[in-house]
Symmetry: C2
Subunit: 427 residues, 2 copies
């Protein structure tokens, strides 16, 4: 017999008293308010039972407020309300599925991981082209995207293709500091990079305790200063042997410093990455959108879902959402610099820019590639504010006032759609 609410009592009366006080129950006695209340008959008359509780010394002040539930099954992140596939889980799925596409096509190049090469400008272009195709596949995994007008789909794809390239590159490079470089140029990953985990773990175990590890550690010191392209090329921060193109290196350094490093610091997870990518993608300010408000709603839903997802990490969630979103301005900035570099490389004939790259990244008609729509108004795509920065081609800038006195309202609502949807299998 313990003490409850100030009186010696059984567990039953404790519960009865609490429920009664909490819900302010008012009972009535069917007899003469003097019913016997003992172990057997305690449930015969509530009025008399409660009266006996008080008489025994129970204090209603001792009953506290209702507390939080102890066993609260957490509602899953799966979309209960909106079936537009914008839940963090759906977005993560789209990310994983679209990556799988390339993993399969890359199966043949499995062995190549052993001899990664430093990227030259055309390796970069090559990787870019590949990644752009993945981007389209990715988008198609998002129902809310496929339900948009075709024009808007194209607009979104074009608007931030560059950001997505860099973002993907950054993600690939995130866990590179958890990587070891063997003497024969093999790479051992601590975490998931492709399907090499099991193998890596094995090798790690095999070498455990050996002095070999020392040399390995030395060789791996600077691997966190490396970017991994989609086609298994590498961009190094420290320009070893001067084998890197300086312009590629510049972009690479900024990606490492301004994107990879902060994302590593907060240890972004796949779900967060998927959301961040989608937030960049659904940009209500993208040029030529017919339903910007609709896009804004989609992005809003995503950023709210991400906010909720992060708030569920109670111990290290604070500031996390902000740090993620604050990666976007530098991402945009680096993207522009990259596009600028590609423009230059193209201009000087150093790089081969094919039509997909031209369309999605450089944002408009090319002055050199053969196109179906020669009616494209201007090589500067006049009137399209530089979401993709339009480097004025020097000729035009010098000999024409066009870029300065360009006529924004004269530009078509929908920017030249040289990008034929069929070509990138949008449907």
């Amino acid at each position: 017999m313990d003490k409850y609410y100030g009186a010696s009592s059984c567990d039953g009366c404790k519960g009865f008293f609490r429920r009664s006080v909490r819900k302010n129950h008012l009972y009535t006695c069917r007899f003469s308010r003097n019913c016997v209340v003992d172990k057997d008959k305690r449930n015969q008359c509530r009025y008399c039972r409660l009266r006996k509780c008080f008489k025994a010394g129970m204090k209603k002040e001792a009953v506290q407020n209702e507390r939080d539930r102890i066993n609260c099954r957490r509602p899953s992140y799966e979309e209960p309300a909106q079936a537009n596939g914008l839940s963090v889980v759906s977005l993560l799925n789209a990310e994983l599925l679209s990556r799988k596409v390339i993993d399969e096509t890359n199966n043949a190049t499995d062995a190549e991981i052993n001899n990664r090469k430093l990227a030259k400008i055309n390796d970069v272009c090559d990787s870019i082209k590949q990644q752009l195709l993945i981007l389209v596949e990715w988008a198609k995994y998002i129902p809310a995207f496929t339900e948009l007008h075709l024009d808007d789909q194209v607009a979104l794809l074009r608007a931030h293709a560059g950001e997505h390239l860099l973002l993907g590159c950054a993600r690939r490079s995130l866990h590179l500091s958890d990587v070891l470089l063997l003497g024969n140029n093999c790479i051992i990953a601590k975490h998931n990079i492709g399907e090499y985990t099991a193998r890596a773990a094995g090798v790690l175990r095999a070498h455990a305790g050996e002095h070999l590890l020392l040399g390995c550690a030395r060789r791996s010191l600077h691997l966190s200063d490396v970017l991994l392209l989609g086609n298994n090329c590498i961009i190094a921060k420290h320009n070893i042997d001067g084998r890197m193109d300086i312009d590629i290196s510049m972009i690479g350094i900024r990606v490492m410093d301004e994107i990879v490093k902060p994302l590593r610091e907060i240890d972004i997870d796949d779900t967060e990455f998927a959301c961040l990518k989608a937030i960049v993608f659904f940009d209500p300010n993208a040029k030529g959108l017919s339903q910007p408000q609709k896009i804004k709603q989609l992005r809003y839903q995503i950023q709210i879902n991400l906010e909720d997802y992060i708030s569920d990490r109670q111990y290290d969630g604070r500031g996390r959402f902000g740090e993620l979103l604050l990666c976007l301005p530098p991402l945009q900035s680096i993207t522009w610099q990259m596009i600028e570099q590609i423009q230059f490389a193209k201009l000087f004939g150093v790089a081969h820019v094919d039509s997909l790259l031209q369309e999605m990244l450089l944002g408009g008609a090319s002055t050199e590639a053969s196109l179906e729509e020669p009616a494209a108004p201007s090589p500067l795509s006049a009137g399209s504010p530089p979401l993709v920065p339009q480097l004025p081609l020097p000729e035009a800038a010098v000999f024409d006032v066009a870029p300065f006195k360009q006529e924004p309202n004269a530009s078509p609502e929908h920017p030249s759609r040289v990008l034929k949807p069929a070509e990138i299998t949008l449907l």
Copy 2:
């Protein structure tokens, strides 16, 4: 009230926090993550209680292992008790104080509000110059700023001057839809614009119920499509009478659509604005910073304070923080477009660009203005990635490969400091 785990706390929360951290309890809020947690209701939502513990400054690192007293070095998580003036209140104060400076100097132009003129390019430059000075004043109201190395102060001021101009312009224009335009070109404000509130309210009352209001309403329809410059000039969205410069109008439209409109939709308040400004300002990626990590900490503190401030709103906090931060990429984008326009206007001699504007906005040595430091390496400020986008001057781009094959490591750690601190009274 003692200190536990780094925060003033009661015994109950101490125990709660320790138990939660030790067992890594994950709670779920049954409501909207904004439950009141006070002496009475502290047990009603464990999720919100734990969150409040963290918000109050409790550090999970301060919770030791079970039955662990052996290796005890207690300090370390002693955070720099943020007396650095980064609280939302301090930032709001800096904002209000710096605005006051100009309000006073503008006292003479009080009457001018009656005949606002459409801005021409040199009105814009004029306003810009004025606002740049205010920006410096603003920064000086933030202790954490003044405690920085002088070089870093200059770096921060230069890095996002353009964003701050547009941000200020957007703020000024926020409540313009709450404004009425009288027939004699007077403006009546519903809310605070300068000190005109009382007067406006008076006029509003005076006209109440009159048929005059109809005409007034008609005239005011498009006032939400107007930007207000610091020098009382106006940029209109709809190019009435074709009196606007088309290039100014382009920037203006984007500011209205991509900044003012979203900020209006969430009804940003002064505190949030002040924080947003500071977040833009303390950019750890700014060129030439000697202590980027320090700046990152400052920004982190600010964005956390803002997150907390917003989460204190009981009903409409969800998604708000994200919407605010998501204004930053377009802000950056528009800024670059603006700078591009100014570069062009300068290039063609249309605009007068003085040295302050050149230094803070265009980011480096001028090719025309007379400067004290002719040693500035390159008109392209080679090697400085375009946080401020460096439009390649056509001559250089055409006749020199420099911008493509520029040597980033050859640039000085600290960009040319043509901006003499004394000149803008940094001290």
